[in-house]
Amino acid sequence: MARMAPFVEHLFRRAAFGLSPVERDRFARGYSDRQIIDSLLVFDAGATDVDGAIGTPGHVGVTIGARFTPNTNINQARQRWLFRMVHSPAPLQERMALIWHHHFATAQSKIAGVYGGADSTRLLAAKPSEDPTGHRGQIELFRQYALGRFEDLLVEVAKDPAMLVWLDGRLNVKGTPQENFGRELMELFTVGVGFHTEEDVYAAARVFTGWNLRRTNRGDEAGTASYEFNYRAAQHETGPKEFSFAIYPSGPTPNRIPARSAADGLQDGLDLIHALAVHPETARRMARRLWTWFVSETAPPDEAFVASIARVYLDGGTQMRPVLRAVLTSPQFGDERNFHQRYSWPVEYAVRTLKEVGYLGFSVGDLLTPLLNMGQQLFEPPDVNGWALGPGWFSTSAMLSRMNFASQLATNQRVALRDAARAHAATPEALVDFVHDTLTLPDPPPPHYQAALDYVRAGGAWTGSDAQLLARSAGLFHLLAGSAEYQFL
């Protein structure tokens, strides 16, 4: 398997979910790095439709059962998203959706406790074109705004029915404000710890009083209730709200949201969200988070990178597409010292493994339990802080689960791996090189290379027979896809 340029492989590990054979073919020659970056950045968020390929030949399988209803069945919603990660022509859109899912972490279980399993799935995953009421699930919101304007995304999230349940905004009423959303809006979604006070939390809770949702049941049939944002003016606190930071930098009382009539009270929240979206600390925090998501987890954020990305974010009015372009074209992103310096999440690891080892004849339905064992379940982040980054994913049991998934997939792909390896069966070295290249691994250190050769040669002479290839090519993919090196993006 021919290697792509190291930068292209790096770009696809970070900004996509690895390189599938389809992508290798598409970008095999004739494209500059800049053109490939553009092809990842520029997509029509509304038009990319990979879902039509579900269940068709040439793609990873889905486990459908009686009916495929990803709008109302959470495990099928998980499968649909994994399918999109493997096959979307706009992989950066899916990656950004995953990042926003992490940033605005919302778990299905809590919503299911209020509205049941089917409707909670709709609130998170429904595609408007397929939903009886045209509901846009939260993940579709994240896909739509994947590289859109962050301030708009914040407003949409604040009005999103799933979020209104998740952070209890629906319970936030005059007289007894509910702090949950206001707190996390500042602590997790925007400025972060250290740039707001406890009093700001109380004020923010009052700002969002009355931001609620309306549930309308259109008949008895399950899955037909409609959920929509509803500002309840009568529940809004109309008094002024003081903050420790400026809401109106050039106004006469910059830190105060003025008293407003209940009818106009929705503006309080829009003003606060605007102030937080364009707060310099939000810009810096966003830049630092982009550093860890895209550039490196093993080196602290580079100050020049943070300053430059924060400037693009603010100058562009919080538009994310120019921000991502700046990230992917930054010298730090392209610096080879930052290659293979991100600990993969289970979803990233598993999808990359599918794209690089093989997926024909495998179902993403068989990925759900391994992902759970590795510690990650889509639509079920552990808490409002999302998933942790870093070495915490590599506990002994989680690592064992990754190695076991590599074994499961290599077993499933055994025949295809044997056939692909036939052209590289002449020597143990050729076979090891082939597997290394397929997995876009960096040059192995001598002890690793030797260990791989020792495995191929174990138990007797290497002949390259079909029987040997059947056992050892699958075995070698297991060893290398289960190795520490392959856990890094």
Binding site: Q178, E297, M403, A410, P445
Partner: protein, 419 residues
């Protein structure tokens, strides 16, 4: 919750990797280090346990006026006497087994634990309780620091987390604690069986044995693989444990069952981590309803801890067992409009075991607005006992280590004589 990557690099993953022993040596090591059979089981109630619903000041009229729907009626609490000021307290009605242990003198409550300027953030709060260092919440955990005081190399099963993610409390630079949420699932697969399978395992071991000092992160992952391969067989013995009592089927119950198996099988673990969530009860807290959220949480804790206590008692190991419970904060005194409670300050801790001196330590707050036992405009309960004093008691008197070294200061408080 930045999981200490930076510290971990600065402090030296490379240093951490040196302390690893070859697998064949490990069981001997476990035996050698097992001179004390004592086990510490840390129980974390995640989300901010509502101390006032667990340990109820049922004669405080402000408890009832400030919690009109959530207060536990005085007639329902399980009375357990009064604190040192004579203020009567009662347990949540679902804590029936814990009340029996309390009556036997083997359960201690430490009321109003916390620290100055209590964080209302789950993440910062948890990091503070985990590191026992409000000034630097990204460093190693307090029990991680304890594990590092043990003679090196430390056996990889000295600590055991029953949740998938390594809790910050157990994080250390030089000691890797395995996460084993399911003993049954802790097994190695391979695409080929028989002799081919042994080649695969040998290959995995060879790959993982490479710990390049210039690649500390890679080495870290490899030590996890090494620890997994080195502990498979011993963990396998735990899977066959037959307890003396029926454990509840809850996640918490099953976690305690695994802990009991590990203790009875004597595989050398000194520190266990068990955890249960759902305590972030902002809405519909359901303290009093038969199937209410908080009532169920208390039922879950009572059943799981109760089964474990009974099992250890039957096995003759309760005198070597200490359970220490904490949560990242208590909750707001006034109930909110959603029949829930928001993030508050001081928390309640429990310690139980065969050698615990039970009772009520510390004093209950007065919920009368303006009382000096309150803070944040009398919205929250102010801490009385620094949580690090509780840790110090456990470090010095149970783990046999030096709390001043581990906590970086003298938090000893002799009156806190629960152990």
């Amino acid at each position: 919750m930045t999981f200490t990557r930076r510290e971990f690099i600065k402090g030296g993953v490379s240093a951490f990797t040196i302390g690893f022993a070859a697998p064949a040596f490990l069981s001997d090591l476990a035996v050698a280090q097992g001179s004390s059979r004592r086990s510490l089981v840390v129980l974390y109630l995640s989300g901010g346990n509502d101390a006032l619903s667990m340990l109820v000041p049922y004669t405080d009229s402000f408890y009832y006026s400030r919690r009109p729907t959530l207060a536990v009626p005085a007639g329902s609490v399980l009375q357990i006497g009064g604190d040192s000021t004579g203020k009567p307290l009662g347990l949540h009605p679902r804590l029936t087994t814990l009340r029996q242990i309390y009556d036997q003198g083997r359960l201690a409550f430490v009321q109003r634990t916390g620290y100055a300027n209590s964080s209302r953030s789950h993440f910062l709060g948890t990091d503070i309780w985990s590191t026992a260092n409000p000034g630097n919440t990204t460093g190693d955990g307090w029990l991680g620091r304890y594990l590092e005081t043990l003679p090196s190399p430390v056996d990889p099963l000295t600590g055991w987390s029953t949740v998938r993610e390594l809790p910050h409390t157990l994080k250390a630079d030089r000691v890797s604690v395995p996460s084993i949420p399911s003993v049954a699932g802790y097994a190695l697969q391979s695409p080929n069986t028989g002799i081919e399978g042994t080649y695969s395992r040998a290959g995995l071991e060879a790959f993982a044995s490479h710990l390049p000092p210039e690649r500390p992160h890679l080495s870290f992952v490899n030590t996890s693989i090494q620890a997994a391969l080195a502990t498979l067989d011993r963990v396998g013995t735990v899977a066959t444990y037959v307890p003396t009592v029926a454990y509840p089927t809850s996640g918490l119950g099953q976690a305690f069952r695994a802990v009991a198996g590990a203790i009875v099988r004597g595989i050398g673990t000194k520190v266990f981590w068990v955890q249960t969530g759902g305590f972030d009860t902002h809405a519909s807290q359901g303290v009093n309803q038969a199937n209410g959220a908080y009532a169920n949480l208390m039922g879950t804790v009572n059943a799981a801890v109760g089964a474990f206590y009974a099992d250890m008692l039957n096995q003759g190991l309760i005198d070597d067992t200490l359970i220490l419970q904490f949560s990242e904060f208590g909750r707001r005194i006034n109930e909110n409009a959603s029949s829930g409670t928001d993030h508050g300050a001081a928390a309640v801790m429990m310690a139980l075991g065969g050698t615990v001196q039970g009772g009520l330590f510390g004093t209950a707050p007065s919920l009368n607005p303006g009382s000096d036992t309150l803070e944040n405009n009398s919205n929250d309960v102010r801490f009385e006992t620094d949580f690090r004093s509780v840790y110090a008691q456990v470090i010095d008197n149970w783990l046999g280590a030096n709390s001043v070294d581990i906590l970086g200061g003298d938090f000893r408080k002799p009156s806190l004589s629960f152990i």
